[in-house]
Symmetry: C2
Subunit: 202 residues, 2 copies
């Protein structure tokens, strides 16, 4: 488990810093967070921390990247369970309010300025939309999903709901069940249009 060699200590400290930095960024958001405070929480001075991460921005990006698990699950075939993995990820998030706060505030910040977060989130949304699109369109071919919906629209809606629910959940954790609501949406979207509705489309 323990890494050996001349860098063992540095790496361990790096991990510790990332851990407390996540908590601090999550609690305060990027702007209000200070490198000094993260350092203090990690048992260092500000200058000591900046030996490991040479700027606030670098520290912040490292935190983001470490927690970006991308719903990976190498055991399952890609493209066929993305929706399920999204729901599972949302389920896990319900036990990590700090992480959710971080992503909410950072995604919001990413649209404000062309800062470090922007590229990260643009890339992330593109990737996620692609995964969900592949899943939905695969299900449509097999007849397990409403054939009249555009897979791109479905992907956008799923992502939007996941994001929007996080906000509601953070404001009122007791009364918002994120993964249940995501399933409600998914089940409703699956529905094949009734004959009457299909007729209306002509």
């Amino acid at each position: 488990m323990a890494a050996r060699g001349p860098y063992a200590k540095g790496l361990a400290k790096r991990e510790e810093i990332l851990e407390v930095a996540l908590a601090h960024f999550a609690e305060r958001g990027y702007d209000r967070a200070s490198v000094r405070e993260v350092a203090r929480l990690a048992g260092l001075t500000q200058a000591g921390l900046l030996h490991h991460f040479s700027s606030k921005e670098e520290l912040f990006l490292a935190v983001l990247q470490q927690r970006d698990d991308r719903l990976e699950n190498p055991d399952e075939p890609r493209h066929t369970h993305s929706v399920g993995r999204l729901i599972e990820a949302v389920e896990r998030n319900a036990y990590e309010p700090g992480l959710v706060r971080l992503f909410v505030s950072m995604s919001a910040e990413s649209v404000e300025s062309d800062g470090p977060a922007r590229a990260f989130f643009e890339e992330r949304y593109g990737w996620l939309r692609g995964e969900l699109h592949a899943d939905v369109s695969h299900r449509q071919k097999n007849g397990g999903f409403a054939p009249d919906l555009d897979p791109n629209d479905v992907a956008s809606l799923l992502i939007a709901v996941a994001d929007g629910l996080q906000l509601q959940w953070l404001l009122d954790p007791e009364n918002v069940d994120m993964s249940r609501l995501l399933r409600v949406l998914w089940d409703a979207l699956k529905r094949v249009p009734s004959p009457a509705e299909s007729a209306e489309l002509r």
Copy 2:
């Protein structure tokens, strides 16, 4: 149009300040925005502005409240067109990226700290959820909406999608059509479950 009396000038300046403050907060977010810069844009010094709004927080809240139109439309019966009004509001927002940025970043910030924005958004979400709930449940009674969905769930999903789409739209305005997607969601949610699906529920 012009107000008379001893306060006319003060009020006019107040309006002007609020206008440029909205733009500035929208562009920079609460933290990165500075009272100095708002003052400069309004043709004042910082101290001059603080005569009208005695703190940054007070200025910020005034901006939020002024732009919170609450989808009001006194002509229509309450409770029966909330969904339509939500869609219309989203449609209007597509022409005001600054306003959308403001609400996105402020709602994100509201969950970070118990600052001034928190109460505002909690109250706002509660109100909106109530409106949508009333609308959906009214439609269900008249047979115009899937009877098996919980109106509270539907309200949460609509709000979540509206919020989440704003984020995606800000990152990629060309390729995200907020109001169209909201309609896609609404049409899909309306669908009555097919007999086969109803059978599955037993």
